[in-house]
């Protein structure tokens, strides 16, 4: 900037630091609660970490909350990981394939295929809850990893992003590949996919967070505890029966539930920001 306004600069930093503090505060408190005993938490939460951290995390990961009827958190973490990865990889694979077909081939019904994919943008699971549940039930996919992930795999956004990217790939590459006698699949595997690496990585971050944070869908398709995911498991713990919620353990679980996506987002921040802005363009 061409001007110097020390007071303004001070205010800016103050606002930003205050904003960041407000943002961190709920997580900080959750972390504090996860290091204390139930009694300490219930009799006015201290503002500094206590000494129960190791015990709480061990309890939650090992035994779970038997009183709350929830399985060990370790299992829920694994379920969440499986679901998030299945959704992410599934979406990436089918979107890469279908956008390749739509951009690189001329075939009857091509535009129809495009529109069929496009329309999924307008049908989020929240607006077709019951009929989708019925389809999954009829297919015998309740309480299974397939039921958790497959119905969420179709993605218009990923298909669009790849389509847009493929359109910018120079035609010379395709021609060169054809002259060298490469078939479409060889071109796809050896040229197109490697070129899309950055886009794939950016989408990976966004889709992983999307998959990990699913709530309504796992709530519907799982009644068997051994398929609970961690995000929905927390709710079961909070509303467990008549007892007062065991906040110290609930907060321990909350921390465990939010660490993986936060690590992914911070670790791949640059890709995430780029991917987000591009997907929504």
């Amino acid at each position: 900037m061409v001007e110097r306004r020390p007071l303004l600069l001070f205010i800016q930093h103050a606002v930003l630091i205050f904003g960041a503090a407000v943002f961190v505060f709920p997580i900080y408190l959750a972390f504090i609660a996860s290091t204390h005993t139930a009694r300490e938490v219930n009799s006015g939460l201290p503002l500094l970490p206590g000494g129960q951290m190791f015990d709480n995390y061990a309890t939650v990961l090992g035994e779970g909350l038997s009183t709350a009827g929830a399985p060990p958190i370790g299992l829920m973490l694994m379920n969440s990981t499986i679901m998030a990865l299945a959704i992410t990889l599934g979406k990436l694979v089918i979107s890469l394939l279908s956008s390749f077909a739509i951009v690189y081939f001329k075939f009857p019904f091509r535009v129809l295929a495009f529109w069929t994919i496009f329309i999924t943008l307008m049908l989020p699971v929240e607006v077709r809850i019951l009929p989708t549940y019925e389809v999954v039930a009829q297919l015998g996919m309740l309480n299974s990893y397939a039921g958790l992930s497959v119905p969420l795999i179709a993605s218009a956004t990923a298909t669009f992003l790849f389509r847009q990217f493929f359109m910018t790939v120079p035609d010379e590459l395709t021609e060169a590949a054809r002259i060298d006698g490469a078939g479409p699949m060889k071109f796809f595997r050896d040229i197109l996919v490697p070129l899309s690496r950055t886009n794939i990585a950016a989408l990976f971050v966004i889709l992983f967070i999307y998959g990990w944070n699913q709530y309504l869908w796992p709530l519907l398709v799982t009644t068997d505890e051994s398929y609970y995911t961690i995000v929905m498991g927390i709710q079961r713990m909070v509303n467990a029966g008549e007892e007062t919620p065991q906040w110290h353990l609930i907060m321990t679980t909350a921390i465990l539930a939010l660490v993986p996506p936060v690590v992914v987002i911070l670790g791949m921040q640059r890709l995430f920001v780029r991917g987000l802005v591009e997907v929504e363009k």
């Binding site: 904003g19 999954v136 479409p184 699949m185 944070n213 927390i234 921040q269 802005v277 929504e280």
Partner: protein
């Protein structure tokens, strides 16, 4: 129809294409199959069931035309839920965009540390809405929550189990918290795309920071504002089920029963098939309207 054609033109292929008799079908097959089975079929089922009435045992079904819809819009509970959802969405969009804009403007001006602040501010986006709900619930818990305690010290008796306004505030805060990160990223990107020469020229001409913001940055940011408005409304309408379900359960009374929560409850607890299907259809109409607005806007952005 004209715009349908206009969009169709965009479905281009490359100039150099491959030709193969069955390979392209094989390539689109997985996505088309999943879309048909889990999207198109259930959606058409919702449409179909919305004009039927089933008796309590599921033995008899009869065609009732638009009776389910008529009943819905004469149901004060449904209308109230509509009103609740609109209030909730307006508050979430307003609060999260206003906070994000202030933070983004501040971060944009401190060029060197902008990335540091961005790192500090983006990660709540990774937190699931349901988990965000539980975190804020803990903070505002009337018996042990620190925020409730602080409010009590200020003379406000916070209890979201009893007071509908308190419950609404709780879900608005929890839902906005995570959305601020998202809006912040877009506002910051939008602000950084404005040529520095514009604001610097204005500064040399003696325009203060506020004046520059109002006359230069805000107008240039208006496409971002509009885009985020739609995205935030969609988020508040459809992606906040977890916040409500994990915290207030739609209560006290009906105070936080948003439409998505109601369609779930009527389907899975009330077992009211026809009504639930009709509600689904209304929700679909809302998404389609919002998507159309968004696309219209994107198209215009492309044109100009």
């Amino acid at each position: 129809m004209a715009r349908l054609v206009a969009l169709e033109v965009h479905v281009l292929t490359k100039k150099v294409t491959f030709s193969h008799r069955w390979l392209p079908y094989l390539l689109v097959a997985p996505q088309i199959a999943i879309t048909l089975v889990f999207f198109i079929w259930p959606a058409s089922q919702a449409l179909y069931q919305s004009v039927l009435r089933q008796d309590a045992f599921g033995l008899k079904t009869e065609y009732v035309g638009l009776a389910n819809f008529a009943k819905l819009f004469n149901d004060p509970l449904y209308l109230q839920s509509f009103y609740t959802t609109i209030t909730f969405s307006a508050l979430v969009a307003g609060v999260s965009m206003a906070v994000a804009l202030v933070l983004a403007v501040m971060a944009d001006r401190v060029v060197r540390q902008a990335t540091t602040y961005r790192t500090l501010l983006i990660w709540p986006y990774a937190v699931a809405p349901a988990v965000a709900g539980v975190l804020w619930w803990f903070l505002f818990n009337p018996t042990i929550g620190i925020a409730a305690y602080a409010l009590d010290a200020l003379g406000y008796d916070w209890n979201h189990y009893v007071d509908g306004g308190d419950a609404m505030t709780l879900i608005v805060v929890a839902a906005s918290w995570r959305q601020v990160s998202y809006n912040f990223l877009f506002f910051l990107a939008g602000l950084q795309a404005i040529p520095k020469s514009l604001t610097e020229a204005a500064a040399i001409d003696g325009a203060g920071p506020l004046k520059r913001f109002v006359t230069i940055q805000l107008p240039l940011l208006s496409p971002t504002v509009f885009f985020l408005l739609v995205v935030n409304v969609v988020y508040a309408f459809f992606e906040t089920f977890g916040v409500v379900h994990a915290t207030t359960d739609g209560g006290p009374g009906q105070a936080t029963t948003i439409l998505v929560y109601k369609v779930w409850r009527d389907a899975f607890q009330g077992l009211n098939l026809g009504s639930s299907a009709a509600q689904s259809v209304v929700l679909m109409a809302i998404v389609i309207a919002l998507t159309a607005i968004q696309f219209r806007f994107i198209e215009r952005k492309v044109e100009y």
